[in-house]
């Protein structure tokens, strides 16, 4: 119990530190939310009016006062209102995170569908054709950026064949092209990772022992080798999830998939401080939870790691 409390306390302190540093850094960036809000490019505003608006929004206050005010907004659980839309930040982030989660899930599914068979297949076989295929897919996924794959897929399946929507978010069909564009480059990371770890695990003495005891190859693969090779893959998976939680801006713009990445680019351009701060808070939280989840999963898969027995 005490360790849980200590852990929660350290996580809260870490979150405070992250949000405060971002709060300060944001204010150091060029750009003035007041000018954007007053739409100075289209509407008249005298310097006095600009200063009055700044006072009204509280941006003339010391940074610490502004930060404490933002912390008070957190307590209301609305995270304040967006400067641009006036909508509660929490509501806007919820909508966007849902879209990002959908896109990330689609991309990861595609990535695993490609990486698992190719990674496992190339680790198990000695046939050069399979190893070469895995290598080719992995190299091309790493070399070609997702948006380029997206453009090619759109040209082929949407413009030429007319089978899939060019853009938008209308159920499963509109997820196909963005998920493929996201999943293919992601797979390139996992194919060699799965292959190398599985091969290493298959060469462990305990696997030899299992073979000598007559345990079937299928059981050895699924019950022992794969399980043993998973923790490093899961760690990278955790990092991937973390980066996906931040949004996939290029693909979101290309496919008009309104995820959190695009929302943040707009918020940064418009200096929508409450929205950016809300995003930093939630994304930090999500990444910490993911990190903790992956850690616990790894412990469950390899209890020997925790005990420091792993070579």
């Amino acid at each position: 119990m005490r360790s849980i409390v200590r852990r929660l306390l350290s996580l809260s302190l870490f979150t405070l530190l992250i949000t405060f540093s971002c709060f300060v850094l944001l204010r150091l960036l060029p750009g003035d939310p007041v000018l954007t809000l007053l739409n100075i490019d289209e509407l008249s505003a005298t310097p006095e009016q600009i200063e009055a608006a700044r006072r009204e929004l509280g941006y003339d206050q010391p940074l610490l006062v502004q930060y404490v005010r933002w912390l008070q907004d957190i307590l209301t659980l609305r995270l304040g209102n967006s400067l641009q839309t006036g909508r509660p930040v929490i509501e806007m982030l919820q909508e966007s995170y849902l879209v990002t989660a959908e896109l990330a899930l689609g991309g990861l599914t595609i990535a695993l569908l490609i990486a698992l068979p190719l990674g496992i297949g190339s680790a198990l076989t000695t046939r050069r054709s399979v190893v070469r295929l895995a290598h080719l897919v992995s190299m091309s996924g790493a070399a070609v950026p997702g948006f380029w794959i997206g453009l090619l897929l759109v040209d082929l399946f949407a413009v030429r064949f007319g089978w899939l929507p060019v853009m938008g978010r209308e159920g499963m069909t509109s997820l196909v092209l963005p998920a493929l564009s996201l999943g293919f480059p992601l797979a390139s990371v996992y194919i060699p990772l799965i292959r190398l770890n599985l091969r290493r695990e298959l060469n462990q003495p305990y696997i030899e022992l299992a073979r000598m005891r007559g345990i079937s190859e299928r059981t050895i693969l699924w019950r022992y080798a794969l399980r043993g090779s998973l923790p490093p893959v899961l760690s990278v998976f955790g990092l991937t999830l973390g980066s996906l939680a931040g949004g996939v801006v290029v693909l979101e713009v290309l496919f008009a998939y309104p995820g959190v990445g695009k929302l943040m680019v707009d918020a940064i351009l418009q200096r929508d401080y409450p929205l950016i701060q809300g995003y930093i808070l939630l994304t930090t939280g999500i990444i910490l939870v993911l990190h903790q989840g992956i850690r616990s999963l790894n412990r469950a898969l390899r209890p020997d790691w925790q005990k420091g027995k792993h070579a």
Binding site: G31, L38, A45, Q84, L113, R169, V176, A256
Partner: protein, 505 residues
């Protein structure tokens, strides 16, 4: 697992997903339905806050007055007529039999409440409208401004002053406007689904429904049109124009109210000299900029306003001198290939920014042309021009882009740019004669007289070369003209989905 099995698994998944895609409904080809793809996205449909103006552009909301695209004058809309009553007070007479999408009647109280909300919600609108009080007088609305404010009526063209039923809930997702279309569903950042408003006060919309889709990628918008998944796309990819035309699609280019200009810092440095400013102006090859940087999709600018505006002046014949001649007149001589004065070479700092991709290219062309006459220009890339130019004086010239008369009146631009208190007076112009002219304009109510004064001011600014005007960029719209009828690209870019728009199959 064998290679065959691996490939089969990947193949089946891919095929499954593709077949699923085949089932996608092609809504753009539905009868009497139109899909419009716009180049900005919005997270909120609140008409008083949304800076993309989607509710007005999508035909959901309407303002009291609108801009006529032919004459570029302010015309009645929800306001039938208006008059100046003296004592800074305007009487607005409303149209009869106008209802909001929820069936409620539009009346003076509703207009008052809506305008008050726009002021409360949007500090920019609060400044621009400059309202002291709003009162109802039977069926009319009486508005008193804080100061004498002749351009008040034109400020009501602003889409953020749209009239909505403020009592209705859910304004960010379903504003209750009076336009020909009402919101059926809004997916923030993705699209607005619209349906015809059956009780529209003017002729009912010809379309049954419209999808107003957002996509900020020009290539994706172009692809949507080519794939037949969109009927009209706003700002397609310039590079694809030829291809679109070859595929039988129509691409319309229309001049806009925007001007790309060279802002001069007249507060310090070499640009304080009129001759140096004239030299820079003479240096600019506007035709080259239009043809090569904007690929022909722009018109050369002579002044800040599009020539079709009633207040755009006829400029007097200019003294034809080369940039070198102007610089010589300013006391510069060419030594070792460099323009110098008192032993100091002419070196200028030119600001530019990437938010408008044409501007850095224009800056490079100017830098190159200046080098040919012995003037060194250093280009400095900045992030936020308004903030940088307002608080720094370490620059001489800047490429900048302005909307000069977005609501059909010259007052906004002239005040903002040339009045010492103007929010966009980055040149730091403080010319007593010019200030007096602007203040006279600010007290002049009569429209013809305002136009005459605005012309006079624009001519004076031209004479003094406080800024140098480069070009008016065009807006491109691509659509399938065999299917879409009644589309018109408006110079104001305000009115897009209208009751006259239709599709034929």
């Amino acid at each position: 697992m064998s290679t065959y099995k691996t490939m089969s698994l990947i193949g089946s998944v891919f095929l499954g997903l593709t077949l699923a895609g085949c089932a996608a409904s092609d809504k753009s080809q539905e009868q009497n339905h139109l899909t419009f793809v716009y180049n900005f996205a919005t997270q909120s449909l609140d008409p008083h806050r949304d800076s993309s103006y989607v509710p007005l552009r999508a035909g959901v909301t309407e303002t009291l007055v609108r801009l006529d695209d032919e004459r570029l004058t302010v015309e009645p809309w929800l306001a039938k007529k208006w008059s100046y009553e003296g004592k800074r007070t305007w009487r607005i007479v409303l149209q009869k039999d106008v209802t909001f999408h929820n069936g409620k009647q539009l009346d003076a109280a509703a207009v008052k409440s809506s305008l008050e909300r726009s002021i409360d919600e949007n500090p920019g609108v609060k400044n621009a409208l400059n309202i002291e009080t709003i009162k109802t007088d039977g069926p009319d609305v009486l508005i008193q401004t804080k100061t004498t404010y002749p351009e008040f009526i034109s400020e009501l063209v602003n889409p953020n002053t749209a009239i909505i039923d403020t009592k209705a809930s859910g304004v960010t997702k379903e504003p209750m406007g009076t336009g020909p279309f009402q919101v059926e569903r809004f997916a923030p950042g993705t699209k607005v689904e619209l349906k015809r408003f059956k009780s529209y006060w003017q002729e009912r919309a010809k379309l049954d429904s419209v999808d107003f889709v957002f996509n900020e990628d020009a290539g994706a918008r172009t692809n949507a049109l080519r794939a037949g998944q969109a009927d009209i796309v706003y700002r397609p990819e310039i590079e694809s124009v030829k291809q679109l035309k070859s595929e039988g699609l129509t691409v319309q280019a229309t001049d806009t109210f925007r001007v790309h200009q060279l802002t001069m810092n007249v507060a310090n440095g070499p640009m304080q000299s009129l001759e140096v400013r004239r030299a820079m102006d003479a240096l600019i090859n506007r035709k080259q900029l239009v043809d090569h940087v904007l690929q022909g999709y722009a018109v050369q600018a002579r002044g800040p306003f599009l020539s079709s505006f009633p207040f755009a002046p006829d400029y007097p014949q200019q003294e034809q001198k080369s940039p070198e001649e102007w610089l010589k007149q300013a006391g510069y001589t060419k030594q070792n290939g460099r323009m110098q004065k008192d032993g100091r070479p002419l070196k200028l700092t030119l600001l530019t920014y990437a938010a408008r991709p044409d501007l850095p290219l224009i800056a490079q062309v100017i830098q190159d042309d200046a080098k040919k006459i012995g003037v060194t220009i250093t280009i400095k890339q900045i992030d936020v021009p308004e903030e940088y130019m307002a608080s720094n004086r370490d620059w001489d010239i800047a490429t900048y882009s302005n909307l000069t008369a977005p609501r059909g009146d010259a007052g906004y631009y002239l005040n903002a740019t040339y009045h010492p208190n103007g929010g966009l007076n980055f040149s730091r112009v403080a010319d007593p004669k010019l200030t007096k002219q602007i203040e006279t304009l600010n007290k002049t109510i009569q429209i013809e007289e305002r136009s005459r004064l605005a012309e006079q001011i624009a001519r004076y600014v031209d004479e003094k070369r406080y800024n140098s005007f480069l070009l008016h960029p065009s807006t491109l719209v691509a659509y399938d003209s065999k299917r879409v009828k009644g589309w018109k690209t408006e110079k104001s870019e305000y009115y897009m989905i209208t009751n006259t728009l239709q599709v034929t199959d």
